[in-house]
Symmetry: C2
């Protein structure tokens, strides 16, 4: 990992126990990167590096990487996946989007459906939303009691610790956008017929709870950024900044994991392919 | 719950933090029960009570009961299920036996396959062996490092706590038999052709590790008997004592849970079935 990687991670990572005030973090911040075009080209190059590292992770077959993306509607979760993982392709990478729980899922604890799709050894799992909805929408819309929400922070920390101790590295990214930027993006979904499918009238209801959501995010970031599974707050009003930040952190993390092609017990010279 | 139920539970339950010496617990102990024939008749009657309580749990549909059975080979895990739950039938009760993990299961953390089959709300789940194998056979046969085993006690406690906080009551029973009794039961499997299918030459290998297993059980009972998911040590050389003890505790637990038929919002008198 380079000094630059370290500085980037240091700037975006929420320290364990840190109290977070989202209004103090500028969603339009681009100070971590230089020229826009250069940064975009670099992100594309990082995506290729991530692909090469993923190939080694897959061959090694003993550890996994879990990337969790959270953010309000229009914050760019899909776009991030497209930008950072498009060079990697689906072999050894799986994306899971978590919508409202089904009847069967509700008949179990809220971590049941999440645990079921955690990445197997050798693969990268990407969560588009996650168990954190159970302390976000569930808190804002009061789907669960305050006491229940309170228990969940500890349950989630213990669950993630177990995953980490069993060979999964976890990276969590909160895509931080401004209320103005969300307005523009929602309007674009109404104006552009090719984006109509992305619009959901429920998004406008959630927008009315903007302040409550920001507060729920702050509590989540404060309570669940742990030494074993840290949260990062990503300035996400500018897509190129968001993509660059996440691509850098994912690549640096895979480099630190340093997956190895397994040694073989035979000598290639002993074989002849006829 | 009656005073007698409380005394029984008190006698068999491992207190949180208690150090356990299995050699101080007599597997042939029958002092908790009176006459054998009377006790057997009472167990059959308890099985019917359990069925009635299960019906209410199913109708209520909001909580679950998880019964975990652990014990060395021939300790009577199948027999216990047959005796205690036979009156209940499969609607709303599911049994999961955990054998050696598959390749897919090994590609995930060891709790993955366990979480997947935890009972849904309204049902009773019975585990014939469980995640505790990962601190028993895995410890004795050194399938995992000491450090890994050490982490698992805490991981299991946190996992079970999460289940309990999300609506599952957990009862754990260790079926405690003597080495002599196991010898007799294994020999019976060799002598009786209708029992040959139950015999596994690997059981003899495990028997050679008897003392190591007893020690692994003691550590497990000490580390994982928690206020939220207690272990019970069941004297299991006498099948009628084993069945009676477990039937009593399961029934007392369901009574304490006190599941209720849900209230309906309509009046039966308002309907006429033609």
């Amino acid at each position: 990992m380079t000094d630059r990687d370290n500085a980037l991670i240091e700037a975006l990572r929420v320290k364990p126990g840190e109290k977070v005030r989202l209004r103090d973090r500028d969603p339009r911040d681009k100070s971590l990167f230089g020229d826009e075009q250069e940064t975009k080209a670099n992100t594309a190059s990082l995506a290729k590096d991530i692909d090469a590292l993923q190939d080694r992770l897959y061959a090694e077959g003993s550890r996994a990487l879990l990337v969790i993306l959270q953010g309000t509607d229009t914050s760019g979760k899909d776009g991030t996946i497209r930008s950072v993982f498009n060079a990697t392709g689906p072999l050894g990478v799986s994306v899971h989007a978590f919508g409202p729980p089904s009847k069967l899922e509700l008949a179990h604890d809220y971590l049941w459906r999440v645990h079921a799709v955690c990445p197997r050894r050798g693969t990268i799992g990407i969560f588009n939303r996650s168990h954190y909805e159970d302390v976000l929408i569930a808190k804002v819309r009061k789907f669960a009691s305050e006491e229940t929400i309170e228990q969940r922070y500890e349950q989630i920390n213990a669950f993630e610790k177990m995953l980490v101790e069993n060979g999964t590295t976890i990276l969590k990214f909160m895509l931080h956008i401004s209320k103005d930027e969300q307005k523009e993006r929602l309007q674009a979904r109404l104006d552009d017929p090719t984006k109509h499918w992305k619009f959901n009238p429920g998004d406008l209801e959630d927008r009315e709870h903007w302040d409550d959501y920001q507060e729920a995010y702050e509590t989540m970031l404060h309570r669940c950024s742990t030494p074993w599974a840290p949260w990062h707050i990503i300035p996400a009003d500018r897509k190129w900044v968001r993509n660059a930040a996440i691509a850098n952190i994912v690549k640096a993390t895979l480099e630190r994991m340093d997956p190895q092609y397994p040694a073989v017990s035979w000598n290639p010279g002993d074989f002849e392919v006829r």
